[in-house]
């Protein structure tokens, strides 16, 4: 359903993405792991053109796009078919929780107001924050803001939701709420690509794990394989550093 081939991207002289490819099927939960500076966030951002790739092809919903030569209409189409959840939530500070969600429905997708409100309320209900519908972001905790961010993403019924380290800015005790919402979405079959450092989420929820470093995909596979029998030394090093008690089968 979503396929990207050979994305390349440089910031100045530094090549941050060097031929990254990815295939996502309907209902997949793809988790991208990797040390900071590995290019995972840039990769995710290039999927909806928050970052312009220097090279690369993307096939979304059967339509092929050259990521280096997108026109305004293509960008808008891609963005209408995807949704993005940000590390810093990025809720609109001048809008209430429900208005944050309505923006994408009423303004971007031109849904009638009443229908949009019903969808937005259902989305708020799903993340457990319907009682906060008229609160402004500044009145909500980080975890609540991120759940509104997720509600804003699911409300537009995108083909795929892109999560950029959705729990990294949260206090430890608030992470659980956000992760359980994401887990629920995964169980409902919503297609997600998630950049995260939450290893438990990667292990328990993902059906495909990608390990990136230095702008390359080092290794990818089913979480069972990546977490217990990583093939690459680099992956092993990373995982053992992040999860000290990880048991990796010795390579025979």
């Amino acid at each position: 359903m979503l396929e990207v081939n050979n994305i390349e991207k440089s910031f100045g002289d530094k090549k941050v993405l060097d031929g990254v490819s990815l295939t996502v099927n309907q209902g997949d939960v793809v988790v991208i792991l990797g040390p900071s500076g590995s290019g995972k966030t840039t990769f995710l951002r290039s999927l909806n053109h928050l970052e312009k790739a220097d090279k690369g092809e993307m096939i979304l919903d059967g339509v092929s796009y050259d990521l280096a030569k997108l026109n305004r209409k293509d960008i808008l189409t891609i963005r209408q078919k995807t949704a993005f959840v940000f590390q810093n939530y990025n809720l609109f500070a001048n809008k209430t929780a429900i208005e944050n969600i309505l923006e994408g429905l009423v303004i971007a997708r031109k849904l009638p107001k009443a229908e949009a409100v019903a969808i937005a309320e259902a989305a708020l209900e799903k993340v457990g924050l319907l009682d906060k519908r008229d609160y402004y972001p500044s009145q909500l905790s980080g975890g609540q803001q991120q759940r509104i961010g997720i509600a804003r993403a699911i409300a537009v019924k995108p083909d795929v939701i892109l999560f950029d380290e959705p729990t990294s800015a949260l206090d430890p005790e608030l992470i659980g709420d956000v992760l359980s919402v994401m887990k629920e979405l995964a169980e409902e079959g919503i297609t997600m690509v998630v950049v995260t450092h939450e290893m438990s989420f990667a292990r328990d929820v993902a059906n495909h794990v990608i390990f990136m470093a230095d702008g390359h995909i080092i290794e990818e596979g089913h979480p069972d394989q990546i977490f217990t029998r990583p093939k690459e030394e680099r992956t092993k090093q990373f995982l053992t550093r992040i999860i000290p008690d990880l048991h990796i089968d010795p390579i025979i």
């Binding site: 808008l76 993005f84 990025n90 809720l91 609109f92 001048n94 923006e103 804003r152």
Partner: protein, 226 residues
């Protein structure tokens, strides 16, 4: 102190208010689009715009308003007249208030572009990205998300700008434009009532600027989110 005179001058000087406010309002209206263009051009690092904006700002900031007035009123018409010699247009018939519009627009454009630019910078870029990611066009994102928040941080600076402009327009008496100051000066010279006349315009400026501050105070309360 001649209270009768003060009252009469006060009423006469009031007739200069439309001129003073007219120059202020017209300058802000005329400079808004160029200022927005300069501000966005700089924020988006549009080739040429940044350089132009920096040079323009440096130039306009370092020029005393009175110099601009002297140039436009005393030199510019003669230059223009030379150019238009063959036509039937008489440059010297031009109402000098037009020059006032031009001068104060040129100055306001510089200040306003910096106010707009810094106000936009106070809105976290992430919100613009979120708006784009959700499928809004750039224009929609700016109009619905960025500008409403930017205006909040711009208001105190805008208030300063308007007040400085109102006070700054008092220089137009040099160009025989009859604003508040010009009227009072004429009255003062007529009967040697300098103190009374200047006291009158002092009061009028305080009233106008006080009112402007009240309006902005009200606006700031109005745009406060919670």
């Amino acid at each position: 102190m001649n209270f009768q005179y003060i009252l009469e001058t006060f009423i006469k000087a009031l007739s200069g208010i439309p001129v003073t406010l007219g120059i202020t309002v017209v300058s802000i209206i005329l400079s808004f689009i160029p200022a927005l263009f300069l501000a966005l051009g700089r924020l988006y690092k549009v080739k040429g715009v940044t350089k132009f904006a920096i040079v323009y700002l440096a130039f306009i900031r370092s020029t005393p308003p009175i110099l601009l007035i002297l140039f436009f009123y005393s030199l510019f018409p003669s230059l223009l007249n030379n150019l238009l010699k063959s036509t039937s247009i008489n440059v010297f018939d031009l109402n000098p208030i037009i020059y006032a519009f031009v001068i104060f627009s040129l100055m306001t454009t510089g200040t306003l572009s910096e106010i707009i630019r810094s106000a936009i910078l106070t809105v976290d870029k992430g919100q613009l990205e979120a708006a784009q990611a959700i499928g809004l066009t750039n224009t929609q994102a700016y109009l619905r998300i960025v500008f409403p928040q930017a205006i909040k941080s711009a208001l105190p600076n805008l208030c300063n700008l308007v007040i400085n402009l109102v006070k700054g327009t008092s220089l137009v008496f040099v160009m025989t434009v009859k604003d508040i100051t010009a009227i009072a000066k004429i009255e003062a010279a007529y009967g040697y009532h300098y103190f009374e006349s200047y006291f009158v315009i002092f009061v009028i400026y305080i009233l106008i600027c006080g009112l402007i501050q009240l309006v902005f105070h009200f606006l700031e309360k109005k745009v406060a989110i919670i």
